[in-house]
Symmetry: C2
Subunit: 140 residues, 2 copies
């Protein structure tokens, strides 16, 4: 059930990210870590008042919509930030609420070629950087 009224973002995600906008299915967030252009999509889907946790719990149409949204923002990161590679992942071992990471990677980034999770310390955005990133996303 896609229930916009009941949607509540996980507290850890709330703390680690900035709100950009609500898409048709997902909430679009910027991860507060300027080491990598890093977006998170959170499908606003609850079941029995709990957020779903696995991709396969999405109904077919929701999954299709999620893929559209992942595609739009993967291409955006690739082009806007001239990324070497886009990493897309649904992990959720720590934060249970289903969320999809879309991370722009570079051969000279801090953790390349390893995945970004749990490596080093996040570098927070300042207001100007955040406003610039967010503005670019508003157009997409």
């Amino acid at each position: 059930m896609l229930d916009l009224d009941k949607f509540k973002l996980d507290e850890r995600l709330e703390k680690d990210t900035f709100f950009v906008k609500d898409l048709k299915l997902s909430r679009l967030l910027i991860m507060n870590d300027s080491r990598y252009p890093w977006l998170i999509l959170v499908p606003r889907v609850f079941f029995n008042k709990e957020p779903i946790t696995e991709l396969f719990e999405l109904e077919d149409e929701q999954l299709l919509e999620l893929q559209r949204e992942v595609k739009i923002y993967s291409e955006f990161l690739k082009q806007e930030f001239q990324a070497t590679k886009i990493n897309v992942a649904s992990l959720g071992n720590v934060v249970k609420q289903l969320h999809i990471h879309i991370v722009a990677r570079y051969e000279n980034d801090e953790t390349w070629p390893a995945p970004v999770w749990g490596k080093g310390k996040a570098s927070y955005y300042n207001d100007a950087e955040l406003a610039e990133f967010s503005q670019k996303l508003q157009k997409n």
Copy 2:
């Protein structure tokens, strides 16, 4: 272009995995690491004689088919191995050929809750274990 004749598996994937079967879109592989039930899907899609590298390079129908395949094998791992969480990821920082990891995770597995990549040493399957895992997959 989905070109079955031209398909060639990346050498690193060839070395690290076992062939299970070709699905409609992807080649299904078992990662040779018995610490986690771990499958890999490799869409058999080439463009200009090179394997594609990003999810967003798939045509809409191919992406839809990939999602079907990801869903089938995620649910399979969840149910068959009573996984706590399924991790799904397309990274490709090392192996360029597009491939999707589907990994069954447990709260008591070796690297929980961190992602599995680049942690510790793979534990290889013996023939009996591999045959058993592969047989279960043949039915799905």
